[in-house]
Symmetry: C2
Subunit: 114 residues, 2 copies
């Protein structure tokens, strides 16, 4: 059977790792729903909020729903805006910050690795 | 290196399989970008447009960006609206139709299976 939810049906949790602030995550679809391969998450970063630089073996495929921000590491800064798409390769250091006046909201899919 | 695009940077193609009409797809991130595990696509279905029922071994994780529609098969019809999330399990028959007055737009991620 298919599963439909509204994103607000999912509990919002604070993101506190990597020196992050003003950031929350909702895990929209995951292995708890029976999904075998990847996890769909929705992030909200408040104005002046940040997710600190980190890296991991999993790649990200990201779609910006609203707001204005930057994704950054020690060698580059990329501006991201509504309806932009972002691919973050495996092991690429990356952080995010909101540089706008409203919440920076994006979807981020990550693989479920064994 | 990270890759950023605007969704309109990607060519829009008509979806014609399964008796579909009024439907287009943009493949936003795929193996052509180096992505190893899954593909992020963006669909637009015009008012009265449809993607006919079909099935496949790959699951879908879907986020509705705008519009009002239905996902359906021979046993159920589920209404979908902006900011809804949908999980379509492997091998589940599914079709989509726009039942609103503006375009039904959604993101749909599908695994890259070997």
């Amino acid at each position: 059977m298919m599963i439909r939810k509204h994103y607000t049906d999912v509990e919002k949790k604070a993101v506190t790792q990597y020196g992050s602030k003003g950031t929350s995550i909702r895990v929209l679809v995951s292995d708890e729903d029976g999904a075998p391969n990847f996890v769909l998450r929705r992030f909200e970063i408040e104005p002046d909020g940040i997710i600190g630089i980190h890296d991991h073996i999993q790649e990200h495929e990201i779609y910006i729903l609203s707001g204005k921000g930057e994704v950054f590491n020690d060698v580059e800064i990329i501006e991201i805006n509504e309806n932009d798409v972002l691919y973050v390769p495996p092991n690429e250091p990356h952080g995010y910050r909101n540089i706008g006046k409203k919440n920076l909201i994006f979807l981020c899919t990550i693989p479920l690795l064994e």
